[in-house]
Amino acid sequence: MHIVVCIKQVPDSAQIRVHPVTNTIMRQGVPAIVNPYDLFSLEEALRLKDRLGGKVTVLCMGPPQAEDALRKCIGYGADDAVLVTDRAFAGADTLATSYALAAGIRQIAKEQAVDIVFTGKQTIDGDTAQVGPGIAKRMGLHLLTYVSRIVDTDLDKRTIVVERRAEGGVQVLKTALPCLVTMLENTNELRFATLPAMIHAAGFPVRKWNREQAGIEDVSKIGLKGSPTVVSKVFGPTPRSEKAEMLELDTSSLRDVSLNLLQKIFTRHPTLEADLLMKEAS
């Protein structure tokens, strides 16, 4: 079995700050991490490998420093890592990204056929959740998104059964390999990398492909040129003109302040009191 897991290296948005003076993003010093959603997919791929044997290759389209993200995945147990990196990819939106990654996967498949492609559900810097479906469409892979559990994988019959999260419930879907799976978050717990694996990862020769080595011929489909969406502006959220009306606690009792607040709320929202009265206090 050969699984390819696509990952992205993203700035740790929890630590991103906006420069208070210039209103730009301060990228310096913000650590780059593996997109957290990708890790759920990676863990699932590694679990499949534990159960059924085979090989896990991690693939990333990104700048040279994305190599660190791939290394991290080798530390968790992936067998091989490919970084598709080229100036021509800069500025890619999701359409151009899925094109480049699909090409990379095809190239990897030339060495060993690929049975399942995993991607993360979405990225924390883009949130679009489009690259997985995009790759699937381009490669003719059966698409299974929002998967909460892989129920069964049969390599002989070439089938896979999954549970997929939908509104109000779970779909049980069965499809044929090869397929593309995006895992829902918190469906598994990422394993800890062992020390030997970390040392192995630290010195691992990550393969680096430029666009030719990735088998990409049509440059109009990658990078900025291949991106239909254009960012026309970036701006800070407009601060609200009115700040909160503050109710002072030191001059009145808590009880008085509470009653005062109630009056203000009900005056401001005329129908609210009636709505509350209609509810059965449970």
Partner: protein, 371 residues
Amino acid sequence: MNTPATPDKKPAAPVKKAGGRNLELPEHLKAYKGVWVFLEHDRGHVHSVSWELLGEARKLADKLGSGVAVAVLGGPDEPLEQFAAEAFSYGADKAYVVHDPVLLGYRNEPFTKGLTDLVNRYQPEILLLGATSMGRDLAGSVATTLATGLTADCTELNIDPASRALAATRPTFGGSLLCTIMTLAYRPQMATVRPRVMAMPQPQPDRGGEIVQGTLGMIETDIVTKLLDFIADANSNKINLPYADVIVSGGKGLKNPENFRLVFELARVLGGEVGATRPCVQAGWVEADRQVGQTGKTVRPKLYIAAGVSGAIQHRVGMESSDVIVAINTDPNAPIFDFAHYGIVGNALQVLPALTQAFADHLAMRRKQAA
């Protein structure tokens, strides 16, 4: 994801960059007209996000001087025409309806074919979908098939007057900034919006429209993915945060998980739901379904009471459309006081019980008066 252009401090007109990119709309795409909404439905009901989108679609179409249509796909016996009638009351002019056995229950292949066929045939300039499990699965496939641009999780949709293109605004970089994205040279311009981000429109019941029936042209043996079963969620324990009209939320300022009972107590008296900030969810204090914010749920209740919540932007974007926002925090400089309607600088552990008592007494008194 694009690298953003140089940030401006004031909103600016869209930038037409060179660099080998096509930013002019090709002649043959200028014929694309109309704003479409994909109607998402499940077991007899349309997902409210479709109505929220319809409200937005109507506004966009009016600015463009064009019409609004819905695309609705389903099984042979599903009440799609009823959904269409509802859609007309929410502002649609037309409904493209496709019945087919293979469309009973959502699957990516037939729905992607169904929607792309409709788009190719009737050529809308804008296509909107809800950012739900179904919507995201479908949108990515459709956009790639049509080789067009898709902007996800938009918080605002506008028409740029100069280019008449859709200007889709969404948060970026963890929510600290916003960016506006446009698809200038491709059609249709696609966008997804999360539930509750847009307001629910007012229905006009006597409004009518035109239904156009279509066919799919796929048979079951063509489709590899099979839907074996659907396991509905147990409803009794369901937390319905996005549609709650009263929400009391707790943040890390509550100091420890035991204090959340004060939040639950106030919510109980108000008949409301309990929400929380992401740090509380990550610390395991409450279930993930209670998370309000950019990576959690977007809510628009009539009353939102935030206790021990600092008001960081990632939380703010999930609840700032609430009608009345009350904030309780010990820190007078907490950002939440910048956008709440009412604020109390105090310890939530004391203020919450006092508020709970005040509401309970007031509502009890009112009920007695009414009886």
